[in-house]
């Protein structure tokens, strides 16, 4: 195989380990206090992009649509083995899932016109913040490509008529296998691969890569968002059963009351 051009799409999202704070206009999550990260599914997508290019040759490009700070997430992907990066610089809250799919498709087409093919486009199954569950699927329709959704492992193999992506995902009846000719789109779910940690030389190298910056190709239609809100706080009504080992009899009383001891 003469190499596989992989494009992996990542999103800068607020870290989900602490409390959610909304922006004043109610249009987004304010991540200034919690800090930002990459969606967990996408960390695995980056890992798979790096594995595919390591096994088959080719270039792994990382793409994000976000504000200037999203370059931080691009650098983390570059530090673990992606070799090129593109940032569509814009205010991401004003883009709906269909708009994002159109922008990714525009990048794929422009790069292809420049002779850089993205045979395999990887995305996360759903973003940790907006949870739309649809950008990858909409992208596939924009590009006229097949799409596998929610794969946790994949490889690229030679098929009778050219390269194939072999992807596996957990379905309702067991592990499902897809064999799909490239070019294709695959969305990734966490759980099949362990994202690697960046090495020091990896981080140094990542700093030197020039990030391609673009402006959006089209005016976004916008999300159908009216506003974000926080669920009403539920007052704590916790019943303390005690401290340490001494609480065991009280715990087992509760287990009996709830009927979970009788088996």
């Amino acid at each position: 195989m003469s190499g596989v051009g992989v494009l992996v799409c990542v999103k800068r999202v607020p870290d989900s380990s602490s409390e959610v704070v909304l922006t004043e206009d109610g249009q987004g999550v304010d991540g200034r206090y919690a800090g930002f990260t990459m969606s967990p599914h996408e960390e695995c997508a980056v890992e798979l992009a790096v594995q595919v290019t390591a096994a088959n040759g080719g270039e792994a490009t990382v793409l994000s649509l976000g504000d200037a700070d999203a370059v931080e997430q691009l650098r983390s992907a570059l530090a673990v083995g992606c070799t090129a990066a593109t940032l569509v610089v814009t205010e991401p809250q004003t883009f709906g899932p269909a708009d994002v799919a159109k922008e990714i498709a525009a990048v794929v087409r422009d790069h292809e016109a420049q002779g850089r093919s993205h045979d395999l486009v990887l995305l996360g199954n759903d973003a940790a913040d907006s949870g739309d569950f649809q950008v990858g699927i909409r992208l596939a329709y924009e590009l006229g490509r097949p799409v596998v959704n929610g794969a946790s492992v994949l490889t690229v193999e030679d098929g009778p008529d050219g390269p194939l992506v072999v992807a596996r995902s957990e379905g309702p009846d067991g592990v499902e296998t897809y064999r799909v000719p490239l070019p294709a789109v695959v969305t990734i779910r966490e759980g099949g691969v362990e994202p690697r940690y960046p090495s020091v030389p990896g981080r140094m190298k990542a700093k030197k890569v020039a990030v391609e910056e673009r402006t959006p190709a089209a005016e976004p239609q916008g999300p159908k968002r009216v506003r974000l809100l926080l669920p009403p706080p539920v007052p704590s009504s916790v019943q303390l059963l005690g401290k340490g080992a001494a609480a065991a009899p009280a715990v087992v009383d509760v287990l009996e009351e709830l009927g979970v001891l009788s088996r």
Binding site: S16, A98, D173, Q239, L241
Partner: protein, 326 residues
């Protein structure tokens, strides 16, 4: 007409979340002047499933079969659902927010050129149709306008309790065998391997789940917790910290990027309750938290709590259970 995708389980019964989706559709119908609720099922519809759907107020069950839908493909199945939608003139197409439900509704929306709202909890208006859905793993909500037709969305698990219709009628079963275009079958499932019993573990269906987080301390910190699961006939669920560290396999993960559980009792041990984890366990009926930190979100949100180190508390609970059982 409201069209609801119903997913059968391996025994041919409707998934509980599909019954919840039918219940939600009936509420929506009642608010909208009583438009009928139809179900679409890909594959076989047993007599029992037919009766179950009738009991939930379904007017017509649209059964889709044929070679084109024999194995799963997102695009192929969505094209079949849209064929039914055309025939039945649905203004709403919806599903439960399962992996399949979200995938298929995304295809349906992309093909129809309309928006899709994932994990809806409620609706607040009909013209325009406004829904409230879960974002950030349920830690925040989004009000979203679905002003196009069909309105396409999925329903979050346990947004409503499944309840049969008060005055059900008989449901007709209509079979559709749509032609599926070859291009929609390129990405289809070519084989399915059944999972081993341990890997499935039925975490999502377990009545009791014992949870373990960072407090387990390491890969060897699960002995007492596993004994407690044994004693209670429970399943083990862990936080993302635990799977990321490689202490336990990913299929045991409860959370936004793992399984979503809804047991009668959840016993999280040494889990602080970050959003990522809460997203997967907030549907538990009762929570009994064991944690060293009395201020941890998991403790303040719990029904019951013990403040202490799980390595002291859990062995004492195990001993007490064994003592009472003699």
């Amino acid at each position: 007409m409201i069209l609801v995708l119903v997913e059968p389980d391996l025994d041919g019964h409707a998934l509980e979340v599909s019954l919840e989706a039918l219940t939600f559709a009936r509420n929506l119908s009642a608010a909208g002047g009583g438009v009928p609720v139809d179900a679409v099922v890909v594959g076989e519809v047993s007599d029992e499933l037919g009766k179950e759907l009738a009991a939930y107020g379904v007017r017509t069950v649209h059964r889709v079969n044929g070679d084109g839908v024999a194995s799963f493909s997102g695009a192929g199945w969505a094209s079949a659902i849209l064929t039914v939608r055309e025939a039945a003139k649905s203004v709403v197409v919806m599903a439960a927010g399962t992996d399949r439900g979200n995938e298929l509704m995304a295809h349906v929306a992309a093909r129809a050129g309309v928006a899709m709202a994932a994990n809806v909890l409620s609706f607040s208006g009909l013209s325009p149709f406004v829904v409230t859905r879960q974002v950030v793993g349920g830690a925040a909500l989004e009000e979203m306008k679905l002003d196009e037709r069909p309105a396409v969305f999925t329903l979050a698990g346990h947004a409503v309790a499944a309840s049969p219709a008060e005055a059900p009628g008989p449901a007709d079963v209509v079979t559709h065998t749509p032609e599926i275009a070859a291009v929609d079958l390129v990405a289809r499932v070519v084989s399915v391997e059944e999972q081993d019993a341990e890997a499935t573990g039925d975490l999502t269906k377990a009545r009791v789940v014992v949870g373990a987080g960072r407090g387990a301390g390491g890969p060897d910190g699960f002995k007492d917790l596993l004994e407690l699961t044994e004693l209670l006939g429970a399943s083990l669920g862990v936080s993302r910290v635990v799977t990321s560290a490689g202490w336990r396999p990913h299929h045991e993960q409860v959370g936004q990027t793992g399984s979503r559980i809804s047991p009668d009792l959840y016993i999280p041990c040494g889990i602080s309750g970050a959003i990522q984890h809460w997203a997967g366990c907030s549907s538990a009926k009762h929570i009994l938290a064991i944690n060293t930190d009395a201020e941890a979100p998991m403790v303040t949100r719990a029904t019951y709590a013990v403040i202490g180190d799980l390595h002291e508390v859990v062995p004492a609970i195990n001993a007490e259970i064994r003592r009472r059982r003699g």
